[in-house]
Symmetry: C2
Subunit: 250 residues, 2 copies
């Protein structure tokens, strides 16, 4: 049984703590939080000062990006494996007193929505070759979707995730806004959205492209631009339409 410490109990930290409920080879030993966790019969020790943190085989730091470096220096033990969970920070920001690594769960975590952890992709990095096994073993026990990336690749991955998730969700926000302003219940768009996603399980997104831009249907595009009232939405429509045309001309 390997012991694991968790530092930070925010949105992502709480999801990480939940991942342990089914694990047999790994025990969540202690969680560091600045304020006590208000829940009875915690399955782990709730530590309120980093000094009290007991030694662990693996320590997961899940705090805001700009606090990672400082927190990693304050751990009271050394020569252990310490990973952070940030998509945008290099492994190097961790203190050298422990063996460095990254364990980045690529997912959009909301407190309001439970997640099937077996359906998360994890991106791993370790400073020392000998730590590959423990981080891989731990990750495998949660999900079969993982790969090792270096910090440079992870930086790019984080950008791909912003396009694939954050920006996509914003386009749905715009879509819902236009729908609601025209008394069209957004639920009627859900089947279209579901199929749009289903398609890219079978086709590459480039192959799956439909719509007036890829057809170069300038009449429809011009009509849409005349119809869109919000100037900011109009700019987005123009830029994405031109980008589709460019992409499919190459």
């Amino acid at each position: 049984m390997k012991t694991i410490n968790l530092v930070g109990y925010g949105n992502v930290g709480q999801h990480i703590a939940n991942m342990f409920s089914h694990l047999t080879d790994f025990q969540l030993q202690a969680v560091y939080t600045r304020t006590p966790i208000e829940q009875e019969n915690l399955p782990f020790e709730n530590v309120l000062s980093l000094d009290e943190m007991p030694f662990a085989d693996l320590t997961i730091i899940s705090v805001k990006d700009d606090a990672i470096a400082e927190i990693s220096t304050q751990l009271p033990y050394k020569d252990s494996l310490v990973v952070h969970t940030s998509g945008s920070q290099p492994m190097e920001i961790l203190s050298s007193k422990n063996r460095k690594g990254v364990w980045y769960p690529l997912q959009t975590f909301s407190k309001e929505k439970t997640i099937n952890y077996a359906e998360i992709s994890f991106f791993l990095e370790v400073e020392y070759e000998r730590d590959r096994q423990i981080i891989e073993h731990f990750t495998k026990s949660i999900s079969s979707s993982y790969c090792f990336l270096n910090s440079q690749q992870r930086k790019q991955l984080h950008i791909t995730a912003v396009f694939a998730c954050n920006f996509v969700n914003h386009l749905w926000t715009i879509s819902e806004d236009i729908a609601s302003k025209n008394q069209i219940p957004f639920q009627f768009l859900h089947p279209l959205i579901k199929e749009t996603v289903d398609k890219i399980q079978y086709l590459s997104p480039k192959q799956a492209q439909t719509g007036p831009a890829v057809r170069k249907d300038l009449t429809v595009i011009e009509k849409h631009l005349q119809t869109i009232e919000n100037e900011s939405y109009k700019e987005i429509y123009k830029l994405l339409t031109n980008s589709i045309i460019q992409t499919h001309e190459l």
Copy 2:
């Protein structure tokens, strides 16, 4: 048993013809195509000239937007219900010799991918109140997701669909492009994409927004902009980031 004619057998037309396989109250009587359909034992008459089209209770015109008006004048019968399937064309473009209507299936149809027709939303419009019942009965026999919209609303709906489907798919194309340039298999982003969609079944897209822009994490945003090499992607990143910040400030 009501009879239905289909005019046009392109991408959408073929999917419409397939929808009839399970219907008991409606029969696909004849399909007009410019060239013979190369398939044996067709369950309908394949008509190669519009003049030969037999009278039907409902005629569905599924041809290119700019051919709808002309085709509707060429039908050899009158005083029947004739609908088109275009999201961007008003009902009015149809010839007045028949009773006008619209039957718009909102979906992204690709020939390479089958679709569960019960999961399509249909948007209906009729010129005469008495035609509501037949178009509603016909639609209900395929899908429970439908509503009546006027031509003005449908025009807006088409724009919401471009944002929710076509533009979203393009962001995935960009995401895959960046991933592949950095040797990251795009399949690892599928769980994130799936969860992004699942979330908006429970939360509105606006509530579901995550990422650096909604957190106003200018450090990460600045780092991303320095990392993105493609100028066109950089413009899209900037515009969508600003739009997210604006939307969530209101």
